[in-house]
Every structure is written in structure tokens, then in C-alpha cells.
Amino acid sequence: MVDEEVKIGVFICHCGTNIGGILDVPNITEYAKTLPHVVYAADNLYTCSEVGLTQIRENIKEHNLNRVIVASCSPRTHEPLFRATCFEAGLNPYLFEMVNIRDQDSWVHMKEPERGTEKAKDLIRMGVYKAALLEPLEKIKVSIIPSALVIGGGISGMNAALNLANRGFEVNLIEKEPHLGGLIRSLNKTYPTNEDASKLLEITNLVEENKKIKVFKSAIIENIDGFVGNYKTTIVQNENLTKIESGIIIVATGASPLSPEGYYSYNGKDIISQMELEHLLKNNSVYANNVIMIQCVGCRNEERKYCSNICCMGALKNAMLIKEKNPDAHVSIIFRDIQTKGTTYEAYYRKAREKGILFIKYLPEKPPVIKKDHIQVYNEFLNHEISISYDLIVLSMPLIANDDSETLAKMLKVPLEVNGFFLEAHVKLRPVDFATDGIYVCGSAHWPADISECISQSNAAASRASTILSKDMLEVEGSTAEINEDLCVGCEACIKLCPYSAISKDEETDTVIVNKVICKGCGVCGASCPHQAITIHHFTGDQILSAIVTYGGEE
């Protein structure tokens, strides 16, 4: 192939009058014929029509074309069609090049047809020079291990595992604690239905009994290797090593409640945390008649700027449960902004007010002050201080990132955000994906999430994971980066630059290599490599320079 004579065919589209009505297409076609390597050039009314496509196919055969150029509309819309056409005629689709003479020429230079025509000639010449250097590329195929690894056996992890198992995939579920269930195990009841938390934990049995799910408890991850379709994870249980192979990984490690120690003269007796209140309510041992809850303790401050998302609803729930048991109890919630978005939660908030729970807004610069039997707080709605007596104070503590998140993130080569939660690929459109293919995140590992959010996210993560697991083979674009071993000095700058962790050092051969399965072909590494040792296929330096030279050089 390398030594084969380059034979380029150029097809120039009139696009009805869209191009043909403005630019001098026959003239352009005649010009194209004069360009090096061009053995065939023709214009047609609509290249994208069946007639036009047949013309391409036939001429590839008739003239033994080994490069095809279509000058028409935008490659963003039509490149896939023309590539497929080339492929049908037996030509490697990467030997196709598209030149945009409509959207970026005839349509934007309607009043300057002659200059537009000159521009089209330049663009086609640049295309021809680039095309002459195009190389055939193959899509990369990688086999996929048809099983999943779910890290974390809380509600998110269990639900994700169950969904994948129901889809027919083998699942390995690992949990660092001796029990499945995660944070729900410490809850009394769950909002918004106020039913027993144990009800939601019934899923635990479904998971443990499911034949497709292998549960590893008290398991610590030692090492994670591999890439999409082929992850290899080593775990330790009681000093026993197990190797788990999986096609994908779901991170569902949850989060931890911040310790109330040191906040608002916390003492664990009459000043307790919301988690401790859950425990008391579970044991039916709340005897207080005057209960005050303080929101945003240890968060929305300088140290921890974020809102922990779930504490308002949690406080409302417990406040209502106290009122249910003891309608005469006085329950107050000292808050900053009540976070009850959506339909059900806002209705829940109204319900809480209906029950007579008192809401007092405070300012962070004037936080409540706890005295012996009463609290003093500046009421923002009144512009003055008030006091409330109490016999129990409950501090709503935020969820914070687990302290082992960083270790796990390093092993997975995925990033964390400033607060230590896992950072997804794209906040808007890829909320449960990592930039690294085949790894997903759900639940409070991503951001403090309540049960319904955890379940939604774990369903989503399972769905995303299924897009990989349901394939036998993964096929990825051939236009990737490749490191030229002879030029690479192993400075590893590219490893840090790659947003997808596609470049790594092969410890065995001591060389830096690109994993073509992971590489997205953006080219950042190539343009930055200190030694210009990286080829970006389909956008190589030679190809681009050749286009530049012919544009500049022509007088």
C-alpha cells in the first residue's frame, strides 16, 4: 500500500444551485484535474444522491482510485455517508477527504462568486495535498469481559448490581464493611414515605441470593489495572488475594457523615447529631419536649463551601417523626435555605409546617449560640435575636467524601473535585460517566445524594455500563495518537496532558505507550510533545503541513 501510486478522484457537488449557482463548478473541476495525483475529477448535481454515490463507487473501481475527495457541504453532516460509500467500493474509509465548499464558501460568499471560486480551488488543492498523504487506518477492536465490578455495597451499589444481573451480566460486588447496606443501615425511617429503613434493605437479600452476583464483604481493593473491557482488580479479604476481571467498573462507594465532634459544644447527650437522633428514634428513646435542629453545621462555610443536599429533608423527616410520637413537643429547625426541590419534597416541607414545626432562618455570620437551657439566635426575618428553650439540640452534619476516595481515585486514574467527591466526565451530559471509558460513578460517591437519587443514578450507571457489556467487541475510531519509540525520550509530559489517561508507561518495556482503545484522537499530546514524537493519525503533522505549504506557496 505504501508504495502504491497515489490516485486521487475528486467529486465536486453543485448541490443544485447552492454551490453551482454561485461558484463556477465546471471551472473548478477542470482545475482539479490539473492537480498532482488527480486521475479523475467530475462534477455532479448532488453527490449525496444515489446517482452521485454510484458515480463514486464506479469510478473507484474504474480508475483504481485510492483516495477520494468530495467537495460539497460539511463533513460534520456528510462525512459518514461518503466514508461508507468508499468502504462499499473496497476503499479504506480513512482514505476519504472532504472539502467544504458550501457552508463555508458558496453560502457565505454569495456576492463574490469569482473569489468564492478561487477559494474553492484553494480548498480543493489543500485537500488534494492532504489526501495524498492519508494513510489507511483500521478501527480498533477490543474484546470485552462480560462481567461487572461494582465497588460499594450500599443502596447504589446493590441496585446497580441487581440491574446488571437482571440484564444477564455477571457482577462482582465488593464491600469494605462486613455487611451490605451502607448508610441506610444507620437510618430509622426514610423520606418521603417515612417507612422503616429496613424495608429498603430488603434488596440486600435479593442481592445475596442472586446467582449472577458474587458478593465480597470486608474486602479492600489492592490494585486496579487495565482499560475498558478489560479491567483487572485485586482485592484482599482476610489476607486472601482475589483477582477479579471485569469489563467495566462502577464506583458506588458513598460518602461519610462529618463527625459532630467540636461543633456547637456537641456532647453526645443533649447536643447530638442527626445520625444519633436516627438511632434514638429507632430505639424509641427520644424524651425531649423542646427539640432544636441546627442546619448546615460544618458546611456552607469557608472550610466546606458546599450544600450537602440531603440534610434539610432529613431534618424535616425527624422533626415530623418527633411530632408524630409526641404532638405536644416543640420542634424548631434553624436553617439557612430549605432545600426541598421538586414536587414531593416541597409538599413534604409544607407538611412539616402544617405539623407546627417552627422554622427560623439564621445568618452564617450570626450563628446560634447555645446556652445552658436555651439557644440564642438572630432571626433574619425579624432582624433581632430571639431565644428558644431546649432539652435536645440536633446538629445536621453534611456528608463528606470518604477518606479513602483519593486512594481509589488514584488506582482508577480518575479525578476528584475540590471537596473530594468523584469528578464525572461532564457535569451536564455525562453525569455518571468518567472521562475514562468503562468506569462509572453513582450515589454519594459522586455528590451527597438521597435514596431516590442514589437509585436513579445507579440505574443510570448500570445503563451506561450495559452499553459496553452488551457488546462482544468494542470498536473504536482508528484516528488515534501513536508514539514513535525512536523519538520518544520518556519525559512523560503526554501522560499528564491526556485528559483520558490513554497514555501510560509500560513498566515492562519501559516505554510510553498510547492505549488506542482509550485514545479519542484529540491530538493535544501530539501538538505538545517536546520531542514531536507523537503521530496523530488522520491529522498528522505532514498532512497538515502539506496543506499549509500548498496554500501559502501558490502565488
Partner: protein, 431 residues
Amino acid sequence: MGTNKKSVMVIGGGIAGIQASLDLAEQGIEVKLIEKNACIGGRMAQLDKTFPTNDCSICILAPKLAECFRHPSIQLYTLSEVKDISGEAGNFKVKILKKARYVKEEECINCGTCIEKCPMRVDDEFDMLLRKRRAIYIDYVQGVPSIVTIDRDNCLFFTKGACRICEKVCEREAIDFEQQDEEVELNVGSIIVATGYDIFNPEYIETLGYGRFPNVVTALEFERLICASGPLGGHLLRPSDKAEPKKLAFINCVGSRDIKNNPYCSSCCCMYTTKEAMIAYEHDNELETSIFYIDLRAAGKGFRDYIERGHNEYAINYIKGKVAKILQDEANNPVIVYEDINTSKVKQIKFDLVILATSMVPKKDASKLSNILGVELDEYNFFKGGFYHPQKSSKEGIFLCGACREPMDIPNSVIDGSGAAAKAAEIVMRE
């Protein structure tokens, strides 16, 4: 068992439906994506940018639209509505009404000649009626499928029996006035509802002056006004006198958290008003913004930081307090009446432009669709999901995602779309 066991129908081609479709298709499941409009894209296509990253909305959406259109496992039914279903989870029979486009889909290349020549001017719904389109049109320039449609209700040929100019000018002979609406029968294993939401009409709250005062607009109108591909080409001018506004006010919870209108919280307004204020500021650094709110709901990932940035770097003044009354001075400047809770005094401030963050409300045909599908709505007319399994509808095999079940932002709609796909896949892939 039907022959199309491994197929799922997704109703609605907004971001939630698109995500569900792509996920299912990538799992090798056949998807029938039903869209009422001529193009997919939904509300997200109307937005200028998206919080909290301020990404350009169409930039991140367009690749998904193209993917949806090209995916061999996704069959797109535009201009289509569900008429009837029967059967049960694993084997639903669905009747679809596919309305005539009067344009041959495979012939049209969206060259725009017909649009240019069409003599009819029609209010453009995509641009929130802020400009006119023609009777032959494409929903929006980046719309997918990238082909035109004849708006039967406004086309001169259909209404007056004359014209057919489009037919004459089309070089591809793509216009076909003979096309008929057709009924299509589908057999699918599961159904996902992703029909999205409508916008509350703030004219119901008379004291806010919307509809009477030209410089009081809704947030979605503002998105179009400030969008580079919108009617003003991204150069923000206020409606009354085309002057550059320097003082903006946003009013949150218009129609929301309101027993008389919509008792629920619309979830996104605190964030999108901040976003809109930021974008406006980026266009003009002399601009000052006030956002009036009840509770600032910013619990999502990175949302608090976003609000902080709005305050510190974008001259946004957050004012606690709901505005119930807007007046107008002789120069058409909206005057907001609000209580300054720091002094307990009621004040009036003049603004150049006031933007109302109107509630997301259920689609007006939600109850019709719920009857056809046999699934329950909640007390507000949103599709009713499970408390802990929000994507599950009241009927087995039918799932919900996006704002059709509850007001939600884009990330949650995407999560919901994938989540519903997972549940639907469970049904169609079960042995």
C-alpha cells in the same frame, strides 16, 4: 411473544429521551423514538448556555442529535404522536400517527431556498414567538433531521388553495403536497415516557405585568434573546425600545411554590437565573443584576460555588424576598416593589428589564397521554413515578424520565434517561 421483543419506544426527543434512546441503542436494543415536533432536541435546544459549566447548549447537544439520527438501531418518528396502546410489559402494540411533512425526507437537503421564497410569516414557537418563521420551515437551524417541514395550518396552499411556490423553487422536487398522515403500528417490549414540560404562563399573575409591560419577559424568552442564534443574534436588547439594558432583575418562583398555581418547586430556577445573569454580564460588564428569591436552592454538585461566583464575579445581587408586584414608569421601565428584609421597609427599584423565572408545568396533553398509556399522573399532572424508584410508572413495562415526571435540570434528566433505559432494558432483555 411479539417479534419486536427487543425494542423500546421512547416518547419524546428532548435530552432525556435522547439519552434513553442512545443508551438502549448502544445496548443493541431497537429504539423507536417518537417526537411530536419536526426536529428532536426539545427544550435544551432552546437554551443559550447551561449551568453550572456555562457550556453552549447546542454545542454539547448537537453531537447527540446527530448520533441519534445516524444510529442504525434508532428509528426516528418525527411529527408523530402515540394514538393507542395495547398489550403488556414485554409485548406492547402501539399505534402512532405520523403526520405528513409534505416534504420528502430523503430528498430535502435543507438548502433553504423554499424557506426564502415562502410568502407566509408565522410566529416562531422555537424562538418563543419573538420572531417570525415561514410556513415551510425547520424548527431551528441546527435541527435534526436537517430537513424542512410544511406547517399545514399556516401554508397558503392548504389554507387558501394557492401558492405552491416552494414546490416550484425546490430543485430536488422534494415538496409533496400529496403526502398523507399515516398510521404506523409498532410492537415494542417496553415504553419510556420522556415528554418534558411546558412553561407556566405568567399572565395568570396579573400583578407582575407580563403581557402588559413590554420589558417584563420570561426566562425562556430571555434565553432566546441572548442566544447567538436567537432573534437578536445574541446582542441583548430590551423589547420596548431596543436599548441595551444595564439593570436586570430576575424574579424566582413565578408560579412555583404557590398553592394557587403550582405548589411545587421548579428545581432549576435558582440556578438558571444565575446562569442567565452571568451570560448577560459576559456580554456587558457594566451590567448589574438582582435576583429575588425565597430559598436559594443550590444543592447540586458545584451549585453553591456557582452562586458564589455569580455574586463575587458577575455583579449579581441576591435579594431574599418574593416580588409580588411590578409597576411600570413612563419610559416603560419595570419598577419592582419588594420588601428589604434588612430594614423591613417596602421599596421600589427601577430596572431596565425584568425576567420572570416561570415554573415548569406538566405538558398540556399529559392527561391525554396518560389515558392512552394507562399510567397514573400525580396531583399536579406530572407522570407519577415511584418514591424510591422514580423511573417506574404505575404500570409495568412503562418508565418515566426527565421533566415529564417532575421538574428537573439537565444532568438529572440525563441520569433519568439512562436510568429509564436500564429499567426498560431489564424488561426487554429478560429471558
